[in-house]
């Protein structure tokens, strides 16, 4: 059974991966897919939005005679990542409270 991921969380996951290292499109999708199920056409809109909001920036590097576009997290992106992580922790906690709650008699 798969649980749906909201677009806020999706942003956060991308930022978390980019926080560790810079990625190019395909590699990022692969690593994302090892954690959650997303369709291959999902990531481009996410990256484009993150770039538009200046949470992420791009640079090109030549590779095997063609270009590879890399994505890198910005300072604002790191701040946003922290916000999402906190949001996630709070969310986790409140859900866990319900899941773990013992019945009161």
């Amino acid at each position: 059974m798969k649980i749906q991921v909201s677009s806020d969380l999706l942003d956060g996951l991308v930022l978390a991966l980019l926080n560790k290292e810079d990625y190019y499109g395909y590699a990022l999708t692969q690593d994302m897919q090892s954690a959650i199920t997303i369709s291959e056409s999902t990531l481009y809109p996410v990256l484009r939005r993150l770039k538009k909001e200046a949470l992420v920036e791009t640079y090109d590097q030549p590779y095997q005679g063609r270009n590879r576009r890399y994505y890198r997290i910005t300072a604002d992106g790191k701040k946003h990542l922290e916000r999402v992580k906190k949001m996630w922790r709070d969310y986790q906690e409140s859900l866990n409270n319900i899941f773990e709650a013992k019945g009161e008699e």
Partner: protein, 202 residues
């Protein structure tokens, strides 16, 4: 190689609504992606990314609907909201699983839109009739001025009264028209966001 180029060309055609820079950006991303993934045949590409049409719609939908509230009300024109509504239709139809629910929600949205449009046109019809009547009255007034001055003045004054009322009403009617366009677009966004949240997998 040839099939990759064909796919990309078709994708480009499906992104004609975008400006050159945005379209190039998207194409570059996917050309790179396809090469890195090692997809060699059209079938491989399509089973992973979808058809150029489907992929194109997904990309476009993000552009036109994920906007600031500010952006939306500032740049709103009737043409844009029609475009927006169409893209929602296309985006919804692009994913078979949501097709049935999408059609129902779409039906509701269309009904609301048509009712509002009907009201708008009814009001417009009345308004045009009023304008016509005013014009006729003014004309009659002017003509009569030469034969029967008092009666002519009488008609003329009524006509001018009508003209004044029209000038007051015009801005009101156009504001209402714009309000309706905003309402329809807001509803469209709500519908689309509802699906986006359900659709984003993983």
């Amino acid at each position: 190689m040839k099939e990759i180029q064909e796919y990309l060309q078709e994708l480009s055609a499906n992104l004609y609504q975008l400006n050159q820079a945005d379209r190039q950006d998207a194409l570059q991303f996917y050309e790179e992606y396809i090469n890195d993934a090692g997809y060699a045949s059209k079938q491989e590409i399509e089973s992973n990314l979808g058809t150029p049409k489907q992929l194109g719609r997904r990309i476009l939908a993000e552009y036109f609907l994920k906007q600031d509230e500010q952006d939306l009300s500032n740049s709103l024109t009737t043409k844009r909201s029609i475009k927006t509504a169409w893209l929602v239709v296309l985006a919804l139809l692009a994913t078979p699983p949501t097709l049935i629910i999408g059609v129902i929600l779409l039906g509701v949205l269309m009904t609301v839109t048509f009712v509002l449009l009907g009201l708008l046109f009814g009001a417009l019809g009345l308004f045009l009739a009023a304008v016509f009547l005013t014009m006729v009255t003014l004309y009659v007034g002017v003509v009569l001025l030469f034969s029967n001055f008092v009666v002519g003045m009488f008609y003329l004054s009524i006509g001018l009264l009508g003209l004044g009322a029209i000038m007051i009403i015009i801005p009101i009617v156009s504001s209402i028209g714009r309000l309706i366009a905003i309402i329809v677009t807001r509803l469209t966004r709500i519908v689309f966001n509802f699906f986006k949240r359900r659709k984003v997998r993983g």
